[in-house]
């Protein structure tokens, strides 16, 4: 468990800086943080607005994570693997669809595919694609820059600060869990599982220590003049490349959303 926690902390820390999620691979073309944030939002809104039954159109939206990951130098297989984190959650949302919706949609080699199964698969694909788009955003510009982009887009400062602090305290909490788990393991004589009573004590102590640690972090921030508003760091200016990137992808998304490309493709093939 300690190793997994250590890995989780390292991953979180890596995500805090631009290009940090690419496991050493340099970001080839990092756009302005606002550009990528807006692009991700447009993608999510259009992709998630496609009707559940229209699975062909949802699959066409996979063009964005595949092409954009190649453009910025992230291996798609890695992106796909990481996006699987969200699988249990989306599968849970649609797990009863095959039972509740038994209308036949089509038959393949004698197997009847119902509307429930189509909507379940559609939900899973959407979940994975949405996660992949968010991962590209965080991998390319880093979590801190996402918060800065929110602020630069005119959202209230308190919103971006809250987002950053929640993320920051998550790292504090994980570090505390790791320290306490190591202390338990050090005197556990090889015992791998904790009793229910020990879990209760562990969680109680974790809460108290995390609050104490969070208070120390907060004190250190205020000692350096923090006034509940995240200061804006140096940032890139919006360039023509950003406009071209945002414009061209938006056109692609709208075409996929409005034009029944799946029907045309099936006719051609």
């Amino acid at each position: 468990m300690s190793d997994r926690l250590q890995r989780a902390i390292l991953t979180l820390n890596r995500l805090e800086q631009p290009g940090g999620g690419t496991d050493g691979t340099d970001i080839i073309a990092a756009p302005d943080s606002r550009c990528l944030l807006v692009l991700t939002l447009i993608y999510l809104v259009l992709m998630l607005s496609v009707p559940l039954a229209d699975i062909e159109r949802v699959l066409l939206f996979s063009v964005y994570p595949i092409v954009e990951s190649a453009l910025v130098g992230i291996k798609y297989t890695r992106l796909l693997k990481r996006s699987l984190w969200v699988l249990p959650l989306v599968a849970l949302v649609g797990v009863f669809n095959p039972i509740l919706d038994t209308r036949t949609v089509f038959t393949v080699y004698g197997f009847t595919v119902t509307a429930g199964w189509v909507s379940l698969i559609s939900l899973i694909v959407r979940g994975l694609l949405a996660m992949q788009a968010v991962l590209i955003l965080i991998y390319v510009i880093g979590f801190y820059e996402v918060a800065v982009a929110i602020r630069r887009l005119g959202c209230p400062a308190v919103m971006s600060t809250q987002i950053l602090l929640v993320y920051r305290y998550l790292s504090v909490l994980l570090q505390q869990v790791l320290t306490m788990r190591r202390a338990v393991d050090a005197r556990g004589y090889g015992r791998r599982h904790m009793s229910l009573k020990l879990w209760g004590i562990f969680i109680g102590q974790l809460l108290i220590r995390s609050l104490e640690r969070a208070e120390n972090v907060s004190r250190a921030m205020h000692a350096r003049g923090f006034t509940d508003r995240l200061p804006l760091s140096r940032y890139r200016c919006w360039t023509t490349t950003d406009s071209v990137l945002l414009g061209s992808w938006t056109v692609v998304f709208i075409v996929i959303y409005l034009v029944p490309l799946g029907t045309y493709l099936s006719k051609v093939l």
Partner: protein, 238 residues
């Protein structure tokens, strides 16, 4: 602010749980003095230091930084003049890169970006951490983290430097670098420490705390040779 002095007048502080950490602390540290604050763990040293920056507000009594009384209204002025270094650098370093972390204070002071850049470069150079500029603070060694934390405080160009155990958990080389750095700081300095050798080397004056009170205040060489006081403060075996 005409003079960079620290004045405590009969300061009491009680934590919300009812524990009285400061019990009538009074002293004056004048401009340019380097003072060591000695005492056991739990003597009230850290609580006292947090009052210099307005992180904690006195339950009763008065704290002045120069001519300015420490109140909620004067916090921006007080914090721009007092640089507080925390005991655990991990509490202080939270930005994605070293340079962003060092720039955190100056940016909060709304300085122009060119001035922020100048201060970051100067502070990192002063602590010998220029090469760490693009590194992530989480991956640094203990000594490097301490140096970057000090750079974060120096970048605010404080007139008063307040440090909580600056040499704890450091290897001899890193400890020596911190000592030389503080020696080069020619403004007012208040250092809480268990490192009696460092106190003797850096600070002409020392104050000894025990159970929330200052039980001795005077020249460091006299304090460190006063076995009775050191024993009373728990700094010398009975």
């Amino acid at each position: 602010m005409s003079h960079h002095f620290i004045r405590f007048r009969d300061v009491h502080y009680t934590y919300p749980g009812g524990y009285e950490a400061l019990r009538g602390v009074s002293f004056l540290i004048t401009h340019g003095e380097k003072v060591a604050l000695l005492g056991l763990n739990g003597a009230g040293k850290s609580t006292l230091l947090l009052h210099t920056d307005g992180i904690l507000m006195a339950t009763s009594g008065e704290v002045n930084i120069g001519d300015v009384p420490v109140t909620r209204k004067t916090l921006p002025v007080v914090r721009s003049h007092v640089g507080l270094l925390f005991q655990n650098p991990d509490d202080q370093l939270f930005m994605p890169t070293v340079e962003d972390d060092v720039a955190f204070g100056p940016r909060n002071m709304n300085l122009p970006e060119e001035e922020v850049e100048r201060r970051v470069s100067t502070a990192l150079e002063a602590v010998g951490a220029t090469a760490l500029r693009r590194r992530r603070p989480f991956n640094l060694s203990g000594g490097q983290k301490r140096m970057v934390a000090i750079a974060g405080v120096l970048a605010m160009e404080p007139m008063i430097l307040v440090m909580d155990e600056p040499t704890s958990n450091l290897d001899p080389g890193a400890r020596r670098r911190v000592i030389e750095l503080v020696r080069g700081f020619d403004h007012t300095c208040l250092i809480a420490t268990h490192d009696l050798d460092m106190a003797a080397e850096l600070c002409p004056r020392s104050m000894v705390m025990a159970e929330g009170r200052i039980i001795a205040d005077g020249p460091t060489d006299e304090i460190l040779s006063d076995i009775e006081t050191l024993t009373a403060a728990g700094l010398w075996p009975r």
